[in-house]
Amino acid sequence: MTHRVYRSLAVSLLVFVASCAQIPTAELAQYRSASAEVQKAAEGILIDFAAIKEASEAEQKRKEAEKAAPKGPVLFSTALEYSSVAQPDAVTVRRTALRTIDNFNNTLATLAEGKSVEAVQTAAGGAVEAANNFIVAAGAAAVPGLGALIGVVKTLVGELEKAGLREEFDKAVRNGTPTILKMLEALIAERQDHITLRAIAADNQQVKLVDEMISQVQILRTLVREHSPPASGDPRQDIENALNAALKPVERVLTSPLPIRLSYQDKTPPFASEHRLLAEQAVAQITERGAAINANTEQFEKLRSALNNYGAMLRRMQDALGMLVSALDRPQKFDKVSEDLFGIAFSLKKDIEGFRAARKGSN
């Protein structure tokens, strides 16, 4: 009778404990996989971020120094630096943020792996054995069916441990999520500053290249305009065709419409072979600048695409974390819980029956 009461009590306790001891491992796995993707992609993004930030800062310092360059006699500066605290390096902080998220994820994984369940079961077995040894040392008979009793204790303590881990997991996810979401939000917003610095660099490179290219077009136009047609073998049309062919791939950066016409002017010296050579050199330089303009555009677009993909990864990680949090509040799937309960109840029943049989045998 007493055994039946104990058994039903133990099973009821297990039903309660097991029903809340489920860590949402599928959602955790999805979140960790999204996070691992972000960690991998972030390294390449941060390398470029560091490079463009450093270049922009160096350029800014150079311009400031240029503006502040003293005119007239140079006086010794009395300005001193008052801050002894080094400013944290921007890129290191971003790497640390990602590493801290990774540490947090590893902590969650440790809880989900439940290694302490085995440890606690071993300790429980040891405690029961120690208690039995004490009884024997005191002169009493050893507890019959101790092996099975240890099984009962281990099952119960293991389930309690799982519930404890689930509670810690729940607390960690709920406490860590708002901070991680803020970090991810900051990294998503950061892409805007990253692309802005790259756009500024690309714009400046483009201004320089377009300016050089158009200057060559102007030189070429002037070269032809300052001459009249040669007596024979006029190369003007060929040069004009080559010029427009060179400009065609970069038509979008030109304000002047294509085709550009080259025309001679009367009462000027004839266009000679050395002029033709100069004209061909100018067209070659225009072609070269055009290629550089396209390369500059392509390079920028590739980074923009990389930052878009990186943003998508960060958002996926946000979503996965959101799903993990939702899973904490959602009742576990009934079939999974009932399957677990069936396993636990069966092993407990076997242990209790073994214990009862051993006791009966000793009486």
Binding site: S56, E59, G176, V210, V253
Partner: protein, 109 residues
């Protein structure tokens, strides 16, 4: 006077740069116009770079604070729940009690 926000600085930069490109991209612009355009590009660049670097610095401070917060959450997680330790202590106490008891029995006999 209120400080211009990030959007208005970027808009100003975009509008200014668009004019710069119109001048440098025209075969009819004069050398003087081109020089002014290049200088304008430099000024616009300095303005937007300054603002962007300030924005990055602000985010660095924010992230540094969030790192501290998350580390506190990690530190607060008990990876070793109390049962293992409590059971270990219990075993040690019982074993010690058993030793003392055995010695007492020996002393009495």
């Amino acid at each position: 006077m209120a400080q211009p926000d990030g959007n208005s600085i970027k808009r100003l930069y975009d509008e200014g740069m668009s004019e710069v490109f119109k001048i440098v991209g025209s075969i009819d612009s004069t050398p003087e116009q081109r020089r002014v355009a290049r200088e304008t590009a430099e000024d616009l660049t300095a303005m937007l770079v300054k603002h962007t670097l300030e924005s990055i610095d602000g985010r660095t401070a924010l992230l540094a604070g969030l790192i501290v917060e998350l580390n506190q959450v990690i530190a607060a997680v008990k990876k070793e729940p109390p049962y293992a330790e409590a059971l270990g202590n219990f075993t040690a106490i019982v074993t010690k009690a058993q030793t003392l008891f055995t010695e007492d029995v020996k002393n009495l006999t």
